[in-house]
Symmetry: C2
Subunit: 211 residues, 2 copies
Amino acid sequence: MYIDGTIRAYVDDASAGVPTPGGGSIAALAGALGMSMACMSANFTVGKKKFKDVEREVRGHLDACLKARDELLRLMDEDTQAYAGVSAAYGMPRETSEQKSARRAAIQKALVVAMDAPLRAVRMCRESLRVLSGLADVANPNLISDVGVAAVLAEAALRAAKLNVEINLKFLKDEELVAATRSEIEEAAREAAENARSTLETVVAAIGGTM
Amino acid sequence: MYIDGTIRAYVDDASAGVPTPGGGSIAALAGALGMSMACMSANFTVGKKKFKDVEREVRGHLDACLKARDELLRLMDEDTQAYAGVSAAYGMPRETSEQKSARRAAIQKALVVAMDAPLRAVRMCRESLRVLSGLADVANPNLISDVGVAAVLAEAALRAAKLNVEINLKFLKDEELVAATRSEIEEAAREAAENARSTLETVVAAIGGTM
């Protein structure tokens, strides 16, 4: 489990000429990093007299951000495990026509499994950006740039995870599943971009920055 | 040094109600994660007969990506150290007018120091996106989605680091430095967005995805 390993070990393995950790795992971790900034800004808001009017609301956001962060950290590790199935399927014998057909079926099955972690990362980041858009309005203004960092990274994580769904879709033959998944991730990307933009507009207005 | 600590410890500290690791550190790590995907795709390209025509070019990109990755990992840790100076300056006594003026000067000095790590992260990501735009044209096509992940994360890291420069600029009084820095980071963001877009266009065309 990479979560209990060092940052150096993870980054070294990710950089090497071996398949895992790959883009799906990296995307999930980037999303978790973003959500940790959302948690920090919420943690600097809850329990402070100055923000007691929004205490309940921020606590709700904090719970949601912590759950998203932890789910994304799980997906970071899950993605590396799922990929092993794809490699194994591609490695199956293909001499007889029975072997060829068994291999083809195993590859299709493994691709669906491999797509699962990045697809769940897309969903988690989409959901997270809804939360962030609410958090930006109530978080401690001293920490507002961190809500912005969260929004930038959650959207980027979604887009990176989407690329990892798409690379699997390219080889999937189940047209119905391909169409439904494409439609879902494209809609997720659109919604996420909108929420990220509105969150960032709030942030840059507060810090006098630019989009 | 967080680089030799676990991912869990870093994310937990980042999420907590303490100032560090903050957005500048997180941004640098997100950039390093992106560049690790660029290294992976280059490592799956160099030394292979099939890609021997671009061997020298990809080796050059690989060196640049490794250097960027390692510099961003250093900035992840440096940013947490620089922030301590800002906290210390704000904590200085402010009873007499001498104390007030010493405190003000110390804060201004600390802000310039605190801005340094995210500003260098902005520069590193800008430079990295130039490299990625070249890498996308020559990397092993099987790893092209990982070049896309690298571009998405490098641009997001730049934007996140930029927010952390801007939050310091907000309190800086040296107007000349403020203007020069704003101009640099806005130009960096524009150039990075262009390079990220062109890299992603190459990637999505190859995998049949959408922007």
